[in-house]
Each structure stands twice: as C-alpha cells, then as structure tokens.
C-alpha cells in the first residue's frame, strides 16, 4: 500500500459537498410534498371511487413500484423531452420523477392508514352530524396521519437517500459533488470518507426529528 490519504482537495472543494447536501434536502422536500399530495388524493379517490378508478390507481402503483427508480429518472429526463419536443432542466425533471415515485409509495401508505381508522370514530362523526367533508377534515385525516407516521418517516428517509440518483442526470447534489471532486482530483477514498458520514448524519438527524414527532402524536391505546 503506497497510498497516502490527503484530504486537502476535499476541504478545498467542500462547498460543492455542503451545497450539494442542501440541494439533496431540497429535492427530497419538494419531491415528498408533491408526492404526498398525489398520494393523498389518490388514496382518497381509491377508497371512494368505483372500479375503473381503482384499477387505474392500482396500475399506476404497480407500474412505479416494479420499475427501478434509476430507469424512471432516465425515462423522464431523456424520454419525455425527445417525445414531447420540449426540454426542461435536470433538477425539475428529477423533482417530477421523485414526486411520481413517492406518490406511488405514499398512496399505499395512506390507503392502509385510511383502512385502519376505527369504524366507530367515523360513526361517531356521523352521529354528531358532521358533513362528509367535515368528517374527512376533522376525523379521518387527523387519525390517518397519526396512524401512518412511522411508515411515513421510513418513506421520507428512503426518498432522501434516493436523491443520490439525481447525480446520474447531472443535478449538482451531494453524490454529484462527490463524483465531481473525484473526477477532478482522483481522491476517491477521501471524498467518500467524507460524503458517507454526511449522508449518515443527515439521515439520522431526520430520523430523530421524525421519531420525536411520532412519540408526540402516536395514538396510545389504553
């Protein structure tokens, strides 16, 4: 072994990593927010609608869940512009991909949550004369969110890690920053020795924050 560790280049270009991490978090946040909107809308449609809508939603979920995310990233970034005849930047394309992907996973989470609401709660809502919209806003949604919180935090952390796939279409997030430093300085061991803990620590910080939320809001059964 004649290899000597030299971290100088990593610190010299550290702003690529720190801003990369910020962009990773932003991608995850926007993707998750849009994905949650998709997931919630489709989960509600699924529980309330007829067979045709249900089949369509199930087809969407099955399609996305059985295709690797990397393939979706390529398909949206290279495929849609070449068929549709317009172009968009890589960041927008990745956010759209992540949102579509997150949507498919979150539909399942929300649907399970909606199914798990005790029937008695909804009946109680009917008994005190709440309209269907009021029942949704004051009974079903709050209960559902408290039931699905643990599955949601799992999904959020997975999705944060999945933002590393944005590097393959040159979105300058954390993994892309790492590869940039590597290709320019050949300091691969050092770069990944720094980037790996960055992902780990951020992931754990997220996990702790979400677990605090969980402890505060989970429903304890007497």
């Amino acid at each position: 072994m004649q290899y000597h560790l030299n971290f100088n280049f990593v610190w010299k270009y550290f702003d690529r990593l720190s801003w990369g991490l910020v962009l990773s978090l932003e991608l995850a946040l926007i993707g998750i927010l849009i994905g949650m909107a998709i997931g919630l809308a489709l989960a509600l449609a699924y529980t309330g609608a007829g067979r045709l809508v249900r089949t369509a939603i199930a087809a969407y979920v099955e399609f996305i869940r059985n295709v690797p995310l990397l393939l979706l990233v390529y398909l949206v970034f290279y495929g849609i512009p070449s068929v549709g005849g317009f172009a968009y930047d890589a960041t927008t394309s990745f956010i759209a991909t992540l949102a579509i992907y997150a949507g498919a996973y979150l539909v399942e989470v929300f649907r399970a949550g909606l199914d798990a609401i005790p029937k008695g709660l909804i009946d109680a809502g009917k008994a005190i004369g709440l309209t269907p919209v009021q029942r949704l806003l004051y009974v079903r949604l709050p209960t559902m969110f408290r039931i699905v919180l643990p599955s949601l935090s799992n999904a959020y952390i997975s999705l944060f890690k999945d933002t590393s796939l944005a590097s393959v279409i040159a979105v300058p997030e954390l993994t892309y920053g790492a590869n940039w430093i590597y290709t320019n300085t050949f300091r691969i061991v050092e770069v990944y020795a720094v980037v790996t803990p960055m992902y780990l620590i951020t992931g754990y910080a997220l996990l702790f924050a979400l677990q605090r939320l969980e402890r505060r809001y989970t429903i304890r059964r007497a």
């Binding site: 990944y192 790996t196 992931g203």
Partner: protein, 75 residues
C-alpha cells in the same frame, strides 16, 4: 422501433445479468441476514452492537454512494 428490435439480444443479455446478480445477492443476503438476525435477537452485547452498527450504517447510506465508493476502493 427498429433500433429497439435490433438491440433486443443485447437487452436480453442484460436481463440475464440482472437475474444472475439478483439470484446471487438474494442467496448471500439471506444467509447473512438470518445469521445476523439471530445474532441481534439472541446474541450477547458483544455480538449485538457490531451487527447493529453494521446494519444501521449501511441502511443510512444511499446504494449509489456505496457502489461508487466500493468499486474504486477495491482497485
């Protein structure tokens, strides 16, 4: 479309590689997973903590980062 049909044999080979790799991974991971799962549940602390550390660390790192770092470290 013609390109897609012409590249079918190539893609077919790719699919075989994918299946081959997944089969290998599933077998190795199953063995490792069972052994470490037993270690986590029944092992003493000396066994528990290394497995916990391994599992939590690897689960917290994106697969892509693991691939990039491992391929080049091994050169």
């Amino acid at each position: 479309m013609e390109v897609a049909i012409k590249s079918l044999p190539f893609l077919w080979n790719g699919l075989l590689v994918t299946l081959h790799v997944s089969a290998l991974v599933v077998v190795i991971a199953l063995v490792l997973g069972v052994v470490m799962g037993v270690g986590l549940t029944y092992g003493p602390r000396l066994v528990y903590w290394p497995i916990r550390l391994y599992s939590d660390c690897l689960r917290g790192i994106p697969l892509l980062v693991l691939i990039f770092s491992s391929t080049t470290h091994c050169r």
